[in-house]
Symmetry: C2
Subunit: 253 residues, 2 copies
């Protein structure tokens, strides 16, 4: 197991590596951390298969019956919820090694939409199988519980962002979070392509797309990043961190 992956920088989900495995490289994905080889073999038995999705395809929709959770083997997704009156809110962006579908356990119906933002591949994990196995394999149970809890903690971070931060702080936080997650997967922390539109970023951050665009421009003018369409270079991480944590005047409350 390759060592020294930054894993506790922020409430990310979990790093991904390369390696073969019977059905899919789940061994390297979210669930199995800390399991022994024999336990991993049991887990393999529970993978219900793979599925490929084209850009724009839905993995599931709000209202669909919940049957499985999904580990992203490769690709990039967004999840969103919508109200009866047609407003929608992006609740997250998920990348390789992260898990989708936890929203459906409670009601046995999915409560949000999950859409691929690029051609992607997922591993399907039938939930009843997962529950059965996790009651036998303590480390798997523990890992699954931690995963759900981390999702709750992540959501709290988003509440903070939406409730207390200004536009530029939100975008800086967003960029730094993406950067860390790419880095944890072995990609560059400084240079990456955004898979989502300005409108989707705005929806996630509680902003209009024009505001997102203006904030990008200002970050570029200030020399913190360079932006060309969806291509981002972070030139001054410290600068972004300053924006994130230093509200212009009064903090608190």
């Amino acid at each position: 197991m390759p060592a020294s992956l930054p894993s506790n920088v922020i409430p990310l989900h979990v790093p991904t590596l390369q390696s073969a495995c019977s059905q899919c490289n789940l061994r390297e994905l979210c669930l199995p951390l800390g399991l022994s080889d024999s336990e991993l073999d049991m887990l393999d038995a529970v993978i219900g298969g793979r599925r490929k999705l084209k850009r724009g395809q839905y993995l599931y929709r709000s209202g669909d019956a919940f049957e499985a959770i999904y580990a992203i083997k490769a690709g990039f997704f967004k999840t969103d919820v919508l109200t009866e009156d047609g407003r929608d809110q992006v609740t997250g962006f998920q990348m390789t090694g992260e898990v989708l579908g936890l929203d459906g356990i409670g009601t046995e119906l999915h409560t949000c939409n999950a859409v691929a933002l690029e051609d992607s591949e997922i591993c399907l994990i039938p939930f009843t199988d997962l529950e059965r196995l996790s009651s036998e394999v303590h480390t798997l149970q523990r890992h699954f519980h931690k995963m759900m809890s981390r999702e709750i903690v992540r959501d709290h971070g988003v509440m903070m962002l939406l409730g207390k931060m200004r536009a530029e702080e939100r975008l800086a936080t967003f960029l730094l979070n993406l950067s860390q997650r790419f880095m944890a997967r072995g990609y560059s922390a400084a240079e990456f392509h955004l898979r989502m539109t300005r409108e989707e970023i705005g929806s996630y951050l509680g902003l209009k797309l024009e505001t997102v665009s203006r904030a990008f421009s200002r970050f570029q003018d200030e020399g913190f990043i360079s932006v060309h369409q969806k291509h981002i270079c972070i030139l001054d991480i410290q600068g972004l961190k300053m924006i994130m944590t230093h509200p212009p005047s009064s903090s608190g409350t």
Copy 2:
């Protein structure tokens, strides 16, 4: 088991009733729904004791070691998170029958503060015991997973509220949610006391206390509610629902 409790109106947690039980009325609280009597007896064995808290006391603080989750036997709590630069965000208000502490599972450290907003009493459920038992009792495992998932779905609702709604929509949503949760516990849906200050409501809703106060005043002027300090009467539920779901002009995006 008393029938006809409204349980699927909104992603609430779970209703509470009166009845005796060995250590605490957990039988009627969050976890046990759907368990047989013998399974309930097993669950009783796992309750680690009770604890009383005075108004203002912390049940746990961010950074505390995570050891147990807590079922509220009676009382009212808020949870909040804070950033390094001192801003804090209320992430939820919890009442009798709801559960606290799920945020700590992921890192084995609590990531938010939980404070009693009135004198309260909780049942302590040591997490290792809960995990052990839930691997033996399938219905308990299932119930616990549903509980965590519902918390995630609730958080998505808050994101929608913070990301897409205007001040009055947020407050109307908040009041209607409280109303339903009081109703589900056998209290009046129309008349209740707020346990939290305007500032705490504002923090939860991403608004300043003055804005909360003005929205209350406007609801009263319009005849939707009457407000006297923390005492609220809902006079026109439909009116509030209209505010919640009918943005003044353009919706969507």
